[in-house]
């Protein structure tokens, strides 16, 4: 049947349909400037969701990503004064290390990732609070512009976040499809015992996936801190669920081995469009959350490719 062939394309068809739907109701939405700005604003969330994708791709979940981003905003702000652009490396390194610890706890200590990442998230959150002295911190404007000004400017009307997001999604896509790491991830996600029997170092690959998720969550936090010119141990709150939703709506189900970073990019955009549509359709404030949930059910029902799910648990 032809529908079989359409299935993999459902996520972006859903996205286009949503854009068209909102666009018809209000053409303001379709102005390129609006769409670009919407895409630029969703980039930090996208980066976090992309990291999460690698973990969900192997059938796990990373609930520490939000705390990781929170901590990073604090570290970035604190480290900026002494290290300048080096603060970025510190952030990413710490994110990756904490992610690797989650991975270690999951794979070596056999704690399900749902709990291990939640627990490591708690640890990370505590570090963020401790470092910040439990208050919001501000970056020095000159220092920020010198070190990270390139992250937030505009070139030819296109915000630099878009470039950052594009570079990362290309890198992620390359990693996923063209490298031994990406191949190993797919094998582990789709058939872990066979991957292990083929001599793939499953533990190492899994730990790397969690480290990658941690590192990308840190980049998300860094970008967010630069954008807001400051950090606080709670400033990235509210990232976690949208990031998970973005991955799922994009068509990377929790069963592993299906989907990928491109799916997540589309999923993130779907989340962004749904959120904007609340305003465009003037949904009453007290109804927005409920409507969001219902649209979410519809969107997931539309985008997941059930033929790849052996058992629906």
């Amino acid at each position: 049947m032809d529908f079989e062939r359409i299935k993999p394309h459902l996520p972006w068809i859903t996205l286009l349909a949503l854009v068209a739907l909102v666009g018809i109701s209000d053409t303001n939405f379709l102005r390129p400037q609006n769409l670009i700005s919407m895409a630029a604003d969703i980039v930090p969330l996208f980066i976090m969701a992309m990291g999460m994708t690698f973990v969900i791709y192997i059938g796990g979940i990373d609930l520490s990503a939000q705390s990781m981003a929170n901590m990073t905003t604090v570290i970035a702000t604190v480290a900026l004064a002494s290290f300048g652009i080096g603060a970025a490396l510190i952030c990413i390194a710490i994110g990756a290390i904490m992610g690797a610890i989650s991975g270690f706890v999951t794979t070596k200590l056999l704690v399900p990732s749902f709990v291990s990442t939640l627990a490591i998230g708690g640890v990370v959150f505590s570090i963020g609070q401790w470092l910040s002295g439990q208050r919001a911190l501000y970056m020095d404007a000159t220092l920020r512009d010198n070190a990270f000004g390139w992250m937030v400017g505009n070139t030819a009307g296109i915000p630099h976040e878009i470039f950052i997001g594009t570079v990362l999604v290309l890198a992620g896509w390359f990693l996923q499809t063209r490298t031994t790491f990406g191949r190993a991830l797919k094998a582990i996600g789709a058939g872990e015992p066979a991957a292990a029997a083929s001599g793939i170092n499953v533990t190492r690959i899994k730990i790397m996936a969690f480290a990658l998720s941690g590192g990308l969550a840190a980049i998300a936090g860094l970008l967010f801190a630069v954008k807001l010119s400051g950090g606080s141990p709670t400033i990235a709150n509210g990232f976690l669920l949208p990031a998970i939703v973005a991955v799922l709506v994009g068509g990377t189900p929790l069963t592993g081995g299906v989907g990928g970073v491109i799916n997540t990019m589309i999923g993130t955009l779907i989340v962004a469009v749904i959120r904007s549509s609340m305003l465009y359709f003037e949904i009453d404030a007290t109804r927005q959350q409920m409507v969001f949930g219902i649209i979410l059910i519809v969107a997931i029902a539309a985008t997941i490719d059930r033929s790849k799910l052996r058992v629906v648990k």
Partner: protein, 500 residues
């Protein structure tokens, strides 16, 4: 009394059943044979209600029925004995036996465990299995589980007043000879109550037990023969559409093995698994481990592959003593493992042919972690040609290949990676005759290339036919070593004698 007429079933891209007619009378035992993919399992799923046919009619005693799910089939007296892995291992034996039919033991919403245990005991007595019904199923042997499966289906006897139709799906694959005989005896006794549909790859067993045999090929019934008129060669011819080579196991190709020792076990023991095992595997040798389930065959394979560290003794691979045991050790030492659970440990469903083939040796096709995908595809294409793998292209999802072709992909994975020690764990399990022959061809070819093979065979005939050397194991201890020189091979009896 039970009849299928012109049953049709289509899946996306596959016409699985083509106008199949099937009939079984009261008290009859009907065999069902065919190559893998011929439609046997689809037909069985239609019979016990797991699939709804797209066309055709099902009648019982002349009344048309249409089952929505297995439960409705059961209510009409149709039960299925699955292969041994079909019990839910975290439940007790009695819960498995009465799964879905607990209601009879429920009073005021409460399960009465005592009456259930007593009833389970009665069912187990039918298959002459004396175990505590409250045992957790995970603690049973595979053979015991197979009998529990049978006991479970036999609950239909009490539940259904009318006639029963019981499907037996490969019930003998894990049973020892005596257990097979017990099973057959049971089945014959039960024919006063039930009809049986018997599916097996063991042609001799099918003919021994069945009154009539349905032969399927490509989704259609190509022949129905009665026992008296049956002839194994003729049936096999119908199944595969050609004659089976007399020299089925390629004995004539068996050549003496080389001098170089690839794997050497020196008094190796692993507590609870095997004891004091010694052997040498040479280049070009097929060494077969023979024994019942739990005799230590698989445990030895695991140690060779580097998974389980033995307690005492020395394991030497290509002259190097093995000290570190971990999951990747075997692959690093050039050992390839062809697992029994092909779909779980062999191939990765969801990945395509070339991805599966390079899985164990991605490093050879990558520079700095970046894959050279075109080289992968070239390699895959050459192995597709060499092994005659039937796939439209290298992009085909391996999960969608037939069992035999999956097995070839697994072998190609190891061969292309240059593994010169191959562990074959039931390499022909679940394969049809044609695919089996291909596997035997590959075994000989590998020997010619100087590969050493350790085999745990599906049948004793296979073990005898293929091997240079046979080690007979019992309860983890080595009983006897046979040489398998062509013309001087041990007999079935010789082996069985030492196995049990």
């Amino acid at each position: 009394m039970y009849e299928l007429k012109a049953i049709d079933k289509k899946f996306p891209g596959v016409h699985a059943l083509k106008a199949v007619d099937f009939k079984i009378g009261r008290g009859e035992i009907v065999g069902l044979v065919g190559e893998n993919g011929a439609g046997k399992s689809t037909l069985m799923k239609v019979i016990y209600g797991a699939y709804k046919p797209d066309g055709g009619t099902v009648t019982i005693d002349g009344t048309a029925v249409r089952f929505q799910n297995p439960r409705q089939a059961m209510d009409h007296g149709i039960g299925m004995v699955f292969q041994e892995q079909s019990l839910i291992t975290n439940l007790t034996v009695m819960e498995n036996i009465f799964l879905g039919f607990e209601q009879q033991f429920v009073k005021f919403g409460v399960i009465n465990w005592k009456t259930m245990a007593a009833a389970a005991k009665a069912q187990l007595a039918k298959v002459k299995l004396d175990i505590d019904p409250a045992t957790i199923t995970a603690n049973l042997s595979f053979a015991q589980r197979q009998l529990v499966e049978l006991a479970k289906v036999l609950t239909l006897e009490e539940r259904i007043d009318g006639d029963l139709v019981i499907l037996l799906d490969e019930p003998t694959s894990v049973l020892a000879k005596e257990e097979v005989e017990l099973l057959f005896k049971l089945v014959r006794e039960l024919t006063n109550r039930a009809s049986f549909i018997f599916v097996s790859h063991r042609m001799d067993e099918v003919l021994e037990l069945s009154d009539r045999v349905y032969v399927m090929k490509d989704g259609a019934v190509v022949d129905v023969v009665t026992r008296d008129a049956a002839n194994i060669d003729a049936i096999q011819h119908k199944m595969v559409g050609r004659d089976i080579d007399k020299e089925y196991y390629r004995e004539q190709w068996q050549k003496p093995y080389g001098d170089e020792v690839l794997v050497s076990f020196g008094n190796v023991s692993l507590n609870g698994r095997y004891k004091d095992i010694s052997f040498d595997l040479h280049r070009g040798e097929v060494l077969c481990l023979v024994g019942t389930e739990g005799s230590g065959r698989e445990a030895i394979l695991r140690t060779v592959f580097g998974l389980d560290k033995p307690d005492t003794g020395t394991v030497t691979i290509k002259g190097e003593p093995v000290t570190r045991f971990h999951a990747r050790g075997g692959v690093e030492r050039g050992i390839g493992y062809v697992p029994r659970e092909r779909k779980v440990e062999g191939i990765v469903a969801g990945m395509n042919v070339y991805e599966n083939m390079t899985l164990s040796q991605m490093g050879n096709y990558a520079s700095g972690g970046v894959l050279r995908i075109s080289e992968e595809k070239d390699m895959a294409r050459s192995w597709i040609d060499r092994l005659g793998i039937k796939t439209p292209n290298v992009y085909k999802d391996c999960g969608g290949l037939s069992g035999g072709n999956q097995q070839k992909v697994v072998l190609a994975k190891w061969r292309s990676g240059g593994s010169d020690i191959i562990l074959l764990d039931h390499p022909t399990r679940g394969l049809d005759i044609g695919a089996k022959e291909d596997v035997y061809d590959m075994v000989r070819e590998m020997c010619d290339d100087g590969v050493g093979i350790i085999l745990v065979a599906d049948t004793l005939e296979e073990a005898i036919g293929l091997s240079h050397s046979i080690l007979v194991l019992k309860d983890g201890e080595m009983q006897k070593r046979f040489d398998g020189t062509p013309g001087d091979k041990p007999s079935l009896y010789d082996l069985v004698h030492h196995m049990i």
